[in-house]
């Protein structure tokens, strides 16, 4: 087995909200073109960890971050690298679809516009992103309609399209299916699996079946620490730690 290329990593990551320490010395690595699932009970810090990577905590004045966060060799918090430049390379899909109060077309166009992508290139990029997100056939005739008219699952795939339109290297997903019905969920999962060949994906999920269906790697977190990380199959079937076994079997959490 050849060694995987590590795309994104955190070393000795610590995070405090005010005086409350949410991440305690987290070291984790996400391999390129793989799907890694972050699992663990609510409040274990998995979303907080995810949001460190695209600097979403920058706007919370009481958040204090220590440790090294790397995208390839680039330190995400060092030097004159701006948060917007980081977010350009590390996209994010949220728990609840959060369309802008705009049309479907505008929703994707907005990201292109503020990233100064030339006007004449945008229609092709938008069409491509919608196709890549397998939603083109459903919305191609309604591009000028408000995105809020779409179903929850369609909106979530649209949010993914908005993210891939910017060609990030990594896509962070924060429980993207938790507000969706099973059919929409399976469509989004299908899409995530297809995106794997072009993107490195980190997904936070509460759904054990989902982690087993789509993730190559799984990381189990508990109370701000990583308890166990490894291949999904192994972590679910032959966990090294007793706590991991109890959690994935549903004994607590």
């Amino acid at each position: 087995m050849n060694k995987e290329h590590i795309k994104l990593s955190a070393t000795a990551a610590k995070l405090w909200f005010g005086t409350k320490q949410v991440l305690k010395n987290v070291t984790v690595a996400f391999p390129e073109n793989k799907i890694t699932a972050l699992i663990g009970p609510s409040g274990c810090g998995k979303s907080t960890l995810l949001r460190c990577f695209n600097r979403m905590h920058d706007l919370s004045p009481d958040a204090r971050i220590e440790g090294k966060f790397l995208l390839e060799e680039q330190n995400l918090y060092k030097g004159n690298l701006t948060a917007t430049a980081v977010r350009r390379r590390i996209g994010m899909v949220f728990q609840q679809a959060n369309p802008f109060p705009k049309s479907i077309y505008e929703k994707i166009n907005y990201g292109l516009k503020i990233n100064d992508i030339p006007k004449h290139e945008r229609p092709a990029i938008i069409e491509n992103a919608l196709k890549e997100s397998y939603i083109w056939d459903e919305v191609k005739d309604d591009l000028q309609k408000p995105a809020t008219k779409l179903s929850g699952g369609q909106q979530q795939r649209l949010c993914i399209a908005r993210t891939v339109a910017l060609r990030p290297e990594v896509i962070l997903m924060d429980e993207p299916c938790s507000a969706l019905d099973p059919i929409s969920t399976s469509k989004v999962e299908e899409l995530i699996l297809k995106l794997k060949k072009d993107y490195t994906i980190v997904i936070v999920t509460h759904n054990m079946q989902q982690a087993q269906r789509i993730a190559d790697k799984t990381v189990f977190m508990y109370l701000g620490e990583i308890i166990e990380a490894g291949d999904t199959h192994q972590l679910f079937n032959k966990p090294q730690q007793e706590m991991t076994g109890n959690y994935v079997k549903g004994h607590f959490g």
């Binding site: 706007l59 977010r87 728990q95 609840q96 369309p99 907005y110 809020t148």
Partner: protein, 281 residues
Amino acid sequence: MIRKLTPVIEWGTLLLSTGLACFFLAIILWDLISKGAPSLSWEFISSSPTDGMTKGGILPAIIGTVLLTFITALVAAPFGICCAIYLNEYAVDNWLTRIIRASIRNLAGLPSIIYGLFGLALFVQGLQMGTSLLAAGLTLGLLSLPYIIITTEEALRRIPNRMREAALAVGATQLESIRDVVLPSALPGILTGLVLTLSRAAGETAPILFTGVAFYINKPAAYLNQEFMALPYHLYMLSTQHQAIEQVRPLAYGTALVLIIVVFFLNLSAFYIRYQHSKHE
């Protein structure tokens, strides 16, 4: 027995309170309309007062109030909205911002006559503007400022964080996220607060009393440095200060009715904005 009666009493109390409030509102409106409507005519709203206010119309007062409200909006809206954006989107939550917020809330509770005195001291005398439309507009602008800040902040707070994050996640700066996502979403709430504040300001008498309003101007105010007539003050004069109060009473009621109608239309536009927005959601 008591358990059975409790809901009836509760329900009855609520119904009675609502009924009572509506009852008094209806009486006031009925009184105004029945006594004011006969004076309403095209001449009443299109001509100046004549014969020592006993005849003629109230055109200068209508124009004065409209111009005054316009100046108030120009002064208060930009500052108020920007201040609210700063407080809600940028300011960190520390003792300083808490003091600022508390002060704004206290200012909103200040009696309007205090603003009048302050306007007199600062604009009329301090800045040498004299009693004028500009001084009165600035004074009313100060009065409206805290309300606009509070209502705008309220509207901004209702925008969920995930909307801001959506913009940030595609690479928008904080300013871009506010400009392109937060403000457009909060606009109906901001405009509603603005219009309601202005309709309140339009009906104020005390702040303009010392700062620029006049009993009688023979031509409509058109210059910022002139004194002007305004509906609420005109009403006050006709109903308490005129030497022939009984004679001008119908005119006073007519003026009151026009003032109510102006304010009503301002409020109506606020409801219209809300309605339009809820249709789009």
